[in-house]
Amino acid sequence: MTSQSETDRPILSLQGIKKHFGGVKALDGVDLDLYPGEVVALIGENGAGKSTAVKIMTGIYRPDAGRIFVAGEEVEVHDTRDAWRHGITAVHQETVMFEDLSVAENIFMGHLERRAGGFLDWKGMRRRAAEILRELESDIDADAAMNTLSVAQKHMVEIARALSHDSRVMILDEPTAALSQAEIHELYGIIRRWQAQGKAILYISHKFDEIFAIADRWTCFRDGAWVGQGRIADVTEDDLVRLMVGRSVAQLFPKPEVTIGEAVLEISGLGNAREFDGISFTLHKGEVLGFYGLVGAGRTEVMEAIFGLKPIDRGEMRMNGKPMPHGSPREVIDQGIVYVPEDRQHAGVILPMSIRDNLTLPLTRALAKNGVFLNDRAEQAVGNRFRERLSIKCASLDQKVSELSGGNQQKVVIGKWLATHPGVIILDEPTKGIDVGSKSAVHAFIAELVRDGLSVIMVSSELPELMGMSDRIIVMHQGHTVRELARADFDAETIVAAATGLGRLQEKRHA
C-alpha cells in the first residue's frame, strides 16, 4: 500500500524539543522520528523525560522550544484534540479515568460520537465499545461503571480508548505494567496488526524482553537529553543499558553485608475487604525486604494499611514482639515505623512549603519549646543536618520544595523520616521518576540505613533494583503474597512469572 518514499518520511517527528518546569529541565532538545509500520522503543531511565515527551506529542504540555512535524508538515499541538486531529493517540502511563462513568463513556470521552441531529449516539458508542473490547479479547462489560473494575481492567480500557481513535501514530507509555503475561501477548498481537495497517507505534518500556520482542528501532533519552537512536537488530541488551544509564550496571547497587538480626516487624494473615488478604511476613533488623508485583497487585495498599492509612479487617501485627496499635499514622510513627509513599507529590512532600518545614514536619512538636511554640533554631539545625547528610541540592532551606528536582524532593521525604529516628522505613517506589544521580544516592542511602541497624521494606517495580538491594523478595499478585525468595534464589524469570500469576495458576492446577 505505502510507497517507498512515504515509508522513508516519518509520520511524526520531534526536533529539538525543550521543556522545563520551574527550574527543572525535563527535556533538553530531544529528537524523535516515527515511521509508518514501525515500532520504535523509547528507552531511558525513570525521569529521563519519556513521559514528558509523550505529553508534548499529545498536547498536554506545550514545548518551550522545538518543532513538531506530522507527515512532513510543521504543526502545533495545543491540546489532545489537536493531537487526535493529527492522528496521534496515546495510552498514558497512569490511568486517567472517570470513576463514576461507564466503560463506554470512558472510552469515548473527549470524542463522544454523535448522531445526525447532534445528539449523542449512545447505542452506537456502546456497540463500538463492546466491539473494541472484544477485539482486545477482554470480558469487560461496556456498561459497567469504571469504579467496579480492577487495575488491570482499567488498563485494558485505556488501550481500548486508544483503539477507538483511528490514528496513524499510537503511543504506548508502559502499557504492560499492570498486565498479565497472557494479556501482554494479546497486546503484541494488536501492535502487529497496527503495524500491518501502516501505523507508527511508539513503545515505552523498561522491560528489555518486550523491547526485543516487539520493537524495530530504538531511541534513547537520558536526563532529558537525546542520546541516540538505531535499529534494534544492531544492539544488545547491554548496549541499551549503557546508553540508558551512561555507565555500567554493577556499580548501581551497593548492597552492604549486614548481619540480619532478630525479628522487628511481624505481620500475619493481614487482610481487608477489597484490597488484600492473607499477607504474612517478617522483617528483621538490618534487613532489606523487597516487594515485587505488577501495578495494582496490592503492594502499596498493604504498606498503607500497615502505616494506619487503610482499614484492616483481619490479621495481626507485632512490633518488637508486642502487638502494634495501628489506628492512625501517628500511632504507627510512634512505634518507629515510617513510610515514604509512592506518590511523592501528593502524599510525600508539601510542595508550597519550604524544605525546612517539610523536613521537620513530623518533628515540630518534639523540637518545640514546651511542646507548643515553634523552635526555629532547632528546626534550622535539623534542616541543615539532613540537607547535608542527604546532599539535598538547594539554594537555601527556605526554598519551596516545589522548586526542587524529583530526586531532591525524594531526599526531602526520606530526610523527613530519618529525622524521627525510625526503626523501620518503608520505601514505596523510592526511585520512581528521579534522575540517575539521585537514584544511586537513594540506593547508597538505603545501604547506609541498614548498616545503621534500620530495617527497610522496599516496594519497587524495577526488578534489577529490587534484586540488587534486597535480602529477600516477596512477590504479590492480585492482593495476595504468592512467592517469597531468599537472595540466593533470586531469578528474574521466576519472580516475573509469579507476579503475572503464572506461578499461582500452576500451583492451583497441581492442587
Binding site: V96, D100, M109, M156
Partner: protein, 332 residues
Amino acid sequence: MRKLLRAREAALALIIAGLVGLITLRAPVFLSMGSLDTIVTDGAILSMMALVQMLAILTRGIDLSVSANMALTGMVVALLSRAHPDMAVGLTMALALGLGLLLGAINGVLIAYVRIPPIVVTLGTMSVFRGLVFQVSGGAWVNAHEMGPGFIGFPTARLFGLTSIVWIAALVILIGWAFLAHVRKGRELYALGGNPVAARYVGIDDTHNLMLVYAIIGLVAGLCGYLWVARYAVAYTEIALGFELNTVAACVIGGVGMAGGRGSVLGCLLGALFLVIIFNALPIIDVSPFWQQAISGFVILAAVILNSRGDRPLGKLILRRTEAAPVAGAAS
C-alpha cells in the same frame, strides 16, 4: 454507580411520597388541585435554578450570585416595564435572558479565564449585583400596578391548565436533561468535575466549559428573575434574598455530589420538589412558620449525612477479580 444513583433517587421519591401522605393525613386540602397547582408553580423557579446550580457543582464550583442576578435582572425588567408598560413579553424575556447572560458571563470570565475560585468570584459578584439592584432602583419598589399587564400576566397565564411558568420550567428542564445526557458538551461536564486531570488528557478544555457553565447559569437566572418579579408582582432590592442557598440545598438533597462529577437532573428536581413541599406544607399543617428554617436545616444535614456513604471513594478492587476470573486470557 448508575444503579446506586437510581436507587438514591427512588428512595428520595419514596420519602417525598411518604411526606405528602403524612401531610395529607393532617390536612387533606394539601392534595387539592389548587394546592398542587401552587406547589408546581412555586417549584418551577426553584427547579430551574437548582438545575443550573447543579452545573456549577458538577464542575466542582458553586454559584452564590444566582439570587442576586435574579434580583438585578428582575429589577431592571420591572423598571423597563414601568417606563414602557406596553413592552412585548417576548422582548422582556429577551432582555432578561440577555442581562442574565451578561452577568453570568462576568462570573464566567473571572472563573474560567482569570482563574479565581468560583466561591470567591460569586461571593463578590453577589454583593455587587445586589448593591446594583439598589443603585438602579434607588431603593424604591416597583409595584404591581406600575408594571405592564402583559408583563405581570404572562407567568401566571394558563395553557392546558398549567401556568406558563410551569411550561417554561418544563422546557428548561427538558433542555437541561438533553444537554447533560445527550449533548457532548454537557456530558463532558461530568468528566471535567469527576477528574479534571483526566479530562485534560482526553482533550476536554476546562476554560470553555466553565465559561459555558456560568453563562448558562446567568442566562437561566435572568429568566427566573423576570418570572419571579412578575409572579409576585413586585420588585425590590431584597428579592430572592438567600435563595441561592435553597438552590444549593435542593442539589444536596437531590444527591448531587459536592466533590463534583456526580448528580442527575432527576435527583435535582426531586430535591427542589422536596423543599417546595416542605415550605408549602408548613403553614397548612399548622406548624408555626418559626419552625421552617430549622426544619430545612435539619433536612439538609440529614441528606448530607445519608449521601456521605455514596460520596466516599472505595478502595481499589484488587481481591474480587481473583475470585471471579483468574486471568482474562487464560482460555486462549
